[in-house]
Symmetry: C2
Subunit: 385 residues, 2 copies
């Protein structure tokens, strides 16, 4: 791979970029601090940061009444509010939208319930609705949004289609990218929900320290998302992590053990049966503990296949069942010991049901970073597709 040659203007671009990276994620900084972080001299940083202010990437904060010795320094701040990104979770029962600024600060989170049987058109209308609400509540227009990422269930191809399979009714025919492209001129991407949750766990969740992560989505459906060497792995056709499709792996039927456990009260809704069983197991109920053990045993085969294939540092147990991780993780660990060569750490997710939207935000931010702060600095405005 031929590195391309460099002249003076290129050097300036690179240095300006390094100032941007030194600004971002830090509290408002003085020129001296930036010089230290970027490895440049004060005068150089001075002209660069002033250029950033002129372009709109940075902002001056005049010194207040400081109580430090010496002349108080002007501080510069990255304009995280110069643009925003949207992360959207299109679930079976709900649509969830999260608006974030360029530093990943969550500005607004809104959800709407959706009829599980709703056809794609209706579901997309709810998406439009929740986006409208978020934009109205924050006083923004679609042009203020620099990237949108949508999470859906099922393997997602490069075009954002879910043509192989998905539990969202009729969704194999839906084209969410085209739908959103009508309103947004910025990059729009669709990604699998397990993959997004995995990204979220590494960003703000329980796996921030790990570079090789298997995320388990455990609920009435079971799925997985993979992060290797710190980046999300999609696979060549976007179907990485779909080991649940293998019949020898009993992920499809594993949750049934929890639904059919004797003793579940008739009053429990279908979604609550599992929670009841977990609670009963926690209380020492023999039948419930057996059901959990059978569930874990089925789950463990697939997890073992993932672990043996990838040898991750951490396996994150997430999804709807993660609230009951306390009764699942220990039996799961025991099962895995039987199958695996090297046991990874098992951790329970704490992000709750916003993890998909959160991961979507992170991916949208990555998109913006690549486009605008990749290796040359663009003007601070929404990137085009």
């Amino acid at each position: 791979m031929a590195t391309t040659g460099t002249d003076l203007s290129r050097m300036r671009e690179m240095n300006q970029l390094s100032i941007v990276w030194a600004l971002r994620g830090n509290p408002p900084s003085t020129v001296t601090e930036l010089a230290g972080r970027a490895g440049l001299s004060r005068p150089a940083v001075d002209v660069l940061v002033q250029a950033l202010v002129a372009e709109g990437w940075a902002e001056v904060q005049e010194p207040g009444a400081g109580s430090v010795v010496g002349r108080p320094a002007r501080r510069y701040r990255f304009r995280a509010d110069a643009g925003h990104v949207l992360g959207i979770d299109v679930g079976v029962h709900k649509v969830l939208a999260v608006l974030s600024d360029l530093e990943g600060n969550l500005v607004r989170t809104l959800r709407r319930p959706v009829d599980p049987e709703a056809p794609p058109a209706e579901r997309l209308a709810e998406v439009d609705g929740v986006i409208d609400d978020v934009l109205r509540a924050t006083g923004m227009t679609p042009d203020d949004v620099w990237a949108v990422t949508v999470g859906v269930t099922g393997p997602v191809d490069a075009a954002g289609r879910t043509s192989l399979s998905t539990p969202l009714p009729g969704w194999t025919e839906a084209d969410p990218v085209a739908h959103l492209a009508a309103r947004f001129s910025c990059p729009v991407r669709v990604e699998n929900d397990c993959k997004l949750s995995a990204v979220a766990e590494r960003w703000k969740g329980v796996a921030q320290d790990a570079d090789d992560i298997v995320f388990l989505l455990a609920g009435l459906r079971t799925g997985a998302g993979l992060i290797l060497d710190g980046t999300l792995r999609r696979g060549h056709g976007g179907a990485a992590g779909e080991i649940g499709a293998l019949k020898a792996v009993r992920w499809l039927t594993a949750p049934d053990h929890l639904q059919t456990c004797p003793g579940i009260p008739d009053t429990a809704a279908p979604g609550e049966a599992a929670a009841w069983v977990f609670q009963a197991a926690r209380d020492g109920d023999r039948e419930a503990k057996g059901a959990v053990r059978r569930y874990t045993r089925d789950l463990a085969v697939g997890v073992a296949a993932l672990v043996l294939t990838l040898d991750p540092q951490v396996v994150v147990y997430g999804g709807g069942f993660s609230r009951s991780a306390d009764v699942v993780l220990e039996p799961l660990r025991r099962e895995l010991t039987k199958h695996c060569l090297r046991l990874p750490e098992l951790r329970a997710s704490t992000l709750g049901d916003e993890s998909v939207a959160l991961g979507a935000v992170r991916l949208a931010l990555d998109e913006v970073d690549d486009r605008l702060l990749g290796d040359r600095l663009s003007a601070p405005s929404a990137p085009r597709r």
Copy 2:
């Protein structure tokens, strides 16, 4: 991640590096050609390339009797022979060493048979022997070797130890890195044989076009090596690809179908039984075809788990059985269709039994590139550990 600031000398380094990349892998080039490739002006390239000659990275080739109009240009060449790397395959039955120059041209290949029961000390002595032979035959000293990579069977940890398991007798106690460090001051690395074969297939084999590859080592033992997004995946503890350890995956016993097929002549050695069965199947023998089908069925479960987990572009069928790929690939494809969502391409390896050593050479070359041509140019001499 803070990109570090750049001053003029850094720029010069970068441009010099881009000249190196423009020189490598190309025939001897004129300054004008280099300027075009590197995106620099002729005068700039001129001084840079002269500096490279002074340092020993490049070499002038005075113009011969050319038949072109105009003043014939001086040509510059990358000194691929400034250093060499060693790739070594420590197998059960043999030790194989390949010496390569810095451009990946294979200079010398030597092999020695080893008693399958040989203890580690004896096996390492054979390694020493074959290295001595290669160095003597090429008139080199250990200081001319800039990196060594060794391939062994079994999962290899970061220290080059094979403590979990390996079919090499006693090898869990061996420390090949320490052994070779006594002779070589350059970086020494040990890696799993399947992983190295995967690297070789992408470098010079049948998967040069693919970025997501599953390599299958198919023989009396079955294993896998993974390349995702163009780079080898080791996993957090170096045990990626070891799905064969899962009992639900019948890789351990799959080859037995080929050993126990009725009709195998008593005269056949244990290693030749499988080859006989494949040939018989090719000739239309019912029993043999059944044995191959059973073998394929067992193999396919593990392959399907890999494919569903990783969604690769290509699955390469390699190892000792790859010569019989013609009778295996089609049944394997049929089996995979049953299990998988999206079928990857199936290709048969053509590299033969030198693929492990070849992959080792590639990894050693990568090591040299990282150390010497990473982002600043070092002097052309063996890197220290």
